[in-house]
Structures are given as structure tokens and as C-alpha cells.
């Protein structure tokens, strides 16, 4: 009778452990997809931000990425940015403002259902380049555009 009880406990523990393992296995990929990486947003340079957010700082220029940003932004607090790309298998997009204390403004994780399109408004500390980085098939591609920021809003 006692040995039966032992066996029951053993089986129960095993099932418990197995369930936990399966549980984490399922949970991890979801966490990665939406995980907020604080180090990426705290990084003070572009390469550090890319490394922490997209896993690499090697990116090649690509004409397939379209970055729409104003030539002159009268208000650096609200700069409209639109990124689209003519590429397949895109899993993330990052928008970088090189003149900011922390250059990474935002990253987007796109599921296969997504069209390669993101539009938002960012803050820019000063005149600098905006870089759109697209991760497709595990490689990084980028395009950049200089945005002149005029503080005071005189339109100069």
C-alpha cells in the first residue's frame, strides 16, 4: 500500500515537472515577440541600440525601404515618420533618431499577417538622421534621411 502511494507521488511529480516544462516552452516565444528590452532603449549609440533590440549592428543600405519624414521639422517633439518596405519575411522594424540621447525610438514586431508598414510620430532632440532598420530573413537593412529640427518653430 505504501509503495503504491510512493509510485503515485512519483508520477504526480513527473507530470507536474513535464507540464511546467511544456508551459515554459510555449510561453518563451511569445515573450520574445513582445519583449520590451530596456537596454536597447537606454543605449547611447546606434550600434548598441541595434545590437540589443535586433541582435545585430550590421545593416546594409536598401532601396526597398521607404522612409517618409519631413525635410524640416518645426517642432522636434512631433515628427511624423512612416516606414514601408518592399520585402518579404519581415519580422521587425526599428526607428532610430541618431541625435537623441538614446537613439532608439521604437521597435515593431510584425507577424506574417502584417503589411510592411508603420507610421508614428517621434521626438527629435536636434537636426540629425532618422534611420529605419528592417529585419528580414534574419538580416538587417536600412535607409536614412536627415531631418532639420528648428527649435522655436519659426520655420527657418
Amino acid at each position: 500500500m505504501n509503495s503504491l502511494r510512493r509510485k503515485f507521488i512519483k508520477t504526480a511529480t513527473f507530470v507536474g515537472v513535464a507540464a511546467t516544462t511544456i508551459g515554459t516552452g510555449v510561453l518563451i516565444p511569445q515573450r520574445v515577440l513582445g519583449a520590451y528590452v530596456k537596454a536597447a532603449f537606454d543605449a547611447k549609440d546606434v550600434n548598441g541600440a541595434l545590437m540589443a533590440s535586433l541582435g545585430s549592428d550590421q545593416h546594409s543600405a536598401s532601396d526597398a525601404i521607404k522612409l517618409k519624414a519631413p525635410d524640416i521639422a518645426e517642432n522636434g517633439a512631433v515628427v511624423p515618420i512612416t516606414v514601408s518596405a518592399d520585402m518579404g519575411n519581415i519580422d521587425s522594424i526599428a526607428i532610430i533618431s541618431t541625435g537623441n540621447v538614446s537613439p532608439l525610438t521604437s521597435t515593431y514586431n510584425l507577424t506574417p499577417a502584417c503589411e510592411p508598414f508603420i507610421s508614428t510620430r517621434i521626438k527629435m532632440a536636434k537636426t540629425s538622421d532618422v534611420i529605419a532598420v528592417v529585419k528580414a530573413d534574419g538580416k538587417l537593412y536600412s535607409t536614412s534621411k536627415e531631418v532639420k529640427v528648428t527649435i522655436g518653430g519659426c520655420g527657418g
Binding site: 512631433v78 538614446s102 514586431n109 502584417c114 510620430r121 517621434i122
Partner: protein, 102 residues
Amino acid sequence: MAIKIRAKAQDGVTTVKTLMNHEMETGLRKDSKTGEKIPAHHITEVTAEHNGKLVMTANWGGAISKNPYLSFKFKGGASGDKIKVSWVDNKGGSDSTEASIS
């Protein structure tokens, strides 16, 4: 505190436009009266779902403009389908709104 969502399906692609209410404080600004740094308070994660299925997540730092605007597109979607957009911020605040594709 609600999130404004506009979603429109056309030619097999749904375009979603959202507006959120959030101060998006960078943590770099100083209070002009006291000279003390205003602590960072910004959205860190935005998730978008179509009929309960995850479409996109965004991770944001403090460099997204106050009262953020975000637009994205996805394949499929039809009039009446549900779009749910949620956010969480670095202080544990959150908001979520559901809307229908028009």
C-alpha cells in the same frame, strides 16, 4: 483614457490608425520651477489583435511623441471584425480598447 481606433478594410488589406492618451515623459526633462528631473513615464509595449489573434507588437521608449499616434496594416480583415489595441507603460499602467473594422 480610451484608445481611439479607426480600422478600414480595402482591397484585402486593413489599415488601422490609433491614437492613445499618454504623456510619454522621457525622463530627461527638468521641472522648470524646481530644477528636478521629471521621472520617465512612457508606454513600453503596444499590442494589436485581429479577432483575438496577435497582429503586431510595438516597443516604445520615451522618444515617441506625447499622445502617441500609430498606424499599421495587415492582410485580410473584413467589416465587423474586431480590432483590439492595448498598451502598458513603465509604471505598470495600462489601457485597452476594442473596435470594429468599418
